[in-house]
Symmetry: C2
């Protein structure tokens, strides 16, 4: 400690940080002139970079120079106004600052005692968001209806984690706690999701020691892509008759493919009959309930769900990672996950008066993520959040309108909030294409459009037929970006169809 | 989209961001005048805050005002120069800027194709760090020794996650892949760690469907706290004789309690005989291998480990979260975790020429975390990193020296790098205290010191006897902070012993 400090002074930090802030502002201002999808070959970025740790400190400008020269051409620009692939992953200006504050504070909220305000702000913000999304009092840490609070919300990294922990909590409940001690050996538990369920459900079954064979996928309606309630009932009854133990149902409010909305009340009726835990995956769509005209998106959750997840880091402007999930019975979740080594014992935990979030997810260490979510909620306000959500919905509605007005295209499923899905089905003269030709043309359209760099769309399949997904909801996206992309896509389609 | 944009302009962002940067610089400059440990009661912060989502946007100053007034008094200040609890969780200035860039870019690296440069920089940086830590070529994505590359590194959130995925990879290998499909039902797998193993190992056994009973804890040497190799051998042999299937051993290089170092080569010899996967938990201590004089800290890893984890977000100045782990056989890890839904299929993945990191951990979405680690490595340089590590080691050595010079105290275990552990054992006259009195006095010393706000130490136990943990390694800690804390601690001890 007698050596000179290797750390920047406060003045150096200010100076470098102001420089980085300006770099980000410039990046955002100029991002729409870049190709959305990275135009590099495998290994190209790696071949150009030297990452040898230097002997002596380098200035932050050296990092920025490499970013400009070597990394930006190799990045796919998720904040680009014409990024329409997957779902939006908004990193809005207020969220970036909230996250910056969290980095600066650098506190760990693994248990209440290690930073009480981090835990308590998270509880408050999750309660407020639960109410704003219509999830009801049962999911709140502090109920206002006089009932004892047995549920609560938590921020974790991704919906994959929230789904995994929901499976573990359900297993804990179904087994009366024996899975925690004795594992799943000798059991034959079964989970259900639709054929459109997110892949994280399969991964959760694998990680929990149940195996992917334990996941029974239920058929969906061919047009709406919503889970077939009668098919679920048949599957559960058949599994019970075969001596298996159904214990978990995942319903989706907004599937990853087409944004399909499962009928939670009807599915929950089956689940209740057979004692299944009902987990609702509303990772993308759930936040739309902030709009009065879409308050129904979370229908059935307040009454029927055991757990629920939505990701503010998708559509709700909160820099990744910020996945918010809630459980009706926190005892099941904590029962599945709590461990208490001596080095974490403390009077507050032992008093039972506090929440220790390390018992709510797989990780121990945890960042102060409530801060960025809170910053977003305040700096946008309800009006700003609603304007943003409506803008995405209007964009997707415009896409659907353009698709329906063009005889070459057909919608693949009902448009859902900020998502429209479609495929090529006819030639330039409006004559139906043979299936294999339509399939090939749709795939070529996607490849050519994405390779052009103008916009980025992703894809999915129903019944083995590919469709394009156009998800609107980026914070930099304007209606003009939708219109411009449609023009280019339409021209590409013409060229693909002519060449085919 | 016809409404006015709810988003800040570039100019507004610059202005607000510069304000936040200055707030952070001021916070760091003034943090040593705050109590280290939050001085609030359960519920106190929550009672003072109103987190109702406002109808209209609020300025970022409103967030900063609430931070100052309501949150800071409720935070435990992990960046405080006299934070000596747990392990350091450094959020250094360069790391904060690297993380800020990652927020601004807002890219997702779940598969190579969704942002190639994010994946390739991570591979390069992890290869470079593997070499710098002496892990050897077998853990690198790109080997320089002409051998085919079958291993590689990944950044995940915490060592808990890395340990969990190591267990899953080991299960995949041990079961020949059947756990992935059929789960752990009908099996009787056993894991091993020492009684000093981190609690995340128990949690991993629970989450993987093995149950906590599957974890057999092996005794340690009473002084060094390192795993007893003969005891491991006896445990494995007994389990095999009982028809169980031993498959996983966790060795620790720097335990959470006292920083104990297990003998990896000796343990690995037992593991090899019985086909156990060897996972090495060097979460805190591993980075010390950047020092030539401590290159031996990772002894045995290059030759014997199947997986290895160390956390740059602890001692290596990289803002949480940044846990780096490596596997020798990536096929086992990917085999356990890969899922490939249609919506993520892409030509690059199908070519086999790229790494898709979503198959390396439970989560799908992933932040561009390599950027902050790379920024730290460059902006400190090897000399800066080494100066920082040496400063922590010198601080702990000073603590050990003070403990040994004071007859009231005794070391609880050998000092280990930046960690010293000790307890009260004698009265002010140097006469040994009865065990129960020593225990009570040691606990009271901790409580009074921590409550004073001057410094924050945590604790552990060996053989049921409490010790204090003094971990040095914060980026704002100077030797004067160690000396000052010792003065206060010494006075508190006098008062505790007099009152006892």
């Amino acid at each position: 400690m007698s050596e000179p400090s290797p750390h920047w002074s406060a003045e150096e930090f200010r100076q470098h940080a102001h420089r980085v802030v300006d770099w980000i502002a410039d990046y955002w201002e100029g991002v729409d002139e870049r190709p959305v999808l990275a135009q590099v070959e495998p290994g190209e970025v790696a071949a150009a970079l030297d990452v040898t740790i230097p002997d002596e400190p380098e200035p932050v400008e050296a990092v920025l120079a490499d970013l400009d020269t070597h990394l930006l051409p190799g990045l796919t620009h998720w904040q680009h106004p014409r990024f329409f692939a997957y779902f939006p992953a908004n990193s809005s200006p207020p969220a970036v600052l909230g996250d910056l504050l969290s980095s600066g504070l650098g506190v760990q909220g693994m248990v209440w005692a290690t930073s009480p305000a981090a835990t308590e702000l998270e509880q408050l913000v999750l309660d407020e968001l639960a109410r704003a999304l219509g999830l009801g009092e049962a999911f709140c840490h502090r109920r206002t209806d006089g009932q004892p609070a047995t549920g609560g919300g938590v921020i974790s990294d991704t919906a994959s984690t929230a789904t995994f922990t929901a499976v573990l909590a359900a297993l804990h409940r179904a087994s009366g706690g024996t899975v925690r001690t004795a594992g799943t050996a000798g059991t034959d538990y079964v989970l259900y999701g639709s054929t459109q369920a997110h892949s994280s459900l399969q991964k959760a079954a694998m990680m929990a020691g149940l195996g992917e064979d334990a996941l029974h996928l239920v058929a969906v309606d061919p047009w709406t892509q919503a889970m077939d309630v009668a098919a679920l009932r048949r599957a559960v009854e058949a599994d019970r008759a075969a001596g298996r133990t159904p214990f978990f149902l995942q319903a989706a409010l907004g599937t990853t493919g087409t944004g399909a909305v499962d009928d939670v009340p009807a599915l929950a009726a089956v689940a209740r009959e057979h004692g299944l835990w009902v987990h609702v995956d509303a990772a993308w769509a759930g936040v739309a309930a902030l709009l009065p005209e879409h308050a129904d998106v979370n229908t059935g959750v307040a009454e029927h769900a055991d757990s629920y997840v939505t990701n503010p880091h998708k559509w709700l402007l909160t820099t990744f990672d910020c996945s918010t999930s809630w459980v009706r019975d926190r005892a099941a979740l904590i029962g599945a996950l709590s461990v208490l080594p001596e080095y974490l014992r403390n009077p507050a935990s032992e008093s039972g008066a506090v929440v220790d979030y390390r018992d709510w997810h797989p990780q121990l260490g945890r960042r102060f993520r409530a801060l960025k979510l809170w910053t977003v909620l305040r700096c946008y306000g309800r009006s700003g959040l609603q304007a943003h959500l409506r803008s995405g919905i209007a964009g997707a509605a415009r896409v659907a309108e353009l698709v329906e007005a063009d005889p070459r295209f057909a919608l693949a499923a009902p448009p859902s909030l900020g998502l429209a899905t479609f495929r090529l089905v006819a030639d330039t003269g409006g004559r139906p294409l043979p299936d294999d030709h339509a399939e090939q043309a749709t795939r070529e359209l996607m490849t050519v459009l994405n390779t052009s760099g103008v916009a980025y769309l992703s894809h999915g399949q129903t019944d083995g037929r590919t469709y394009l997904r156009w998800a609107v909801g980026g914070w930099r996206t304007r209606l003009a970006d939708v219109e411009h992309t449609w023009q280019v896509l339409s021209d590409v389609a013409a060229s693909v169809l002519d060449g085919g």
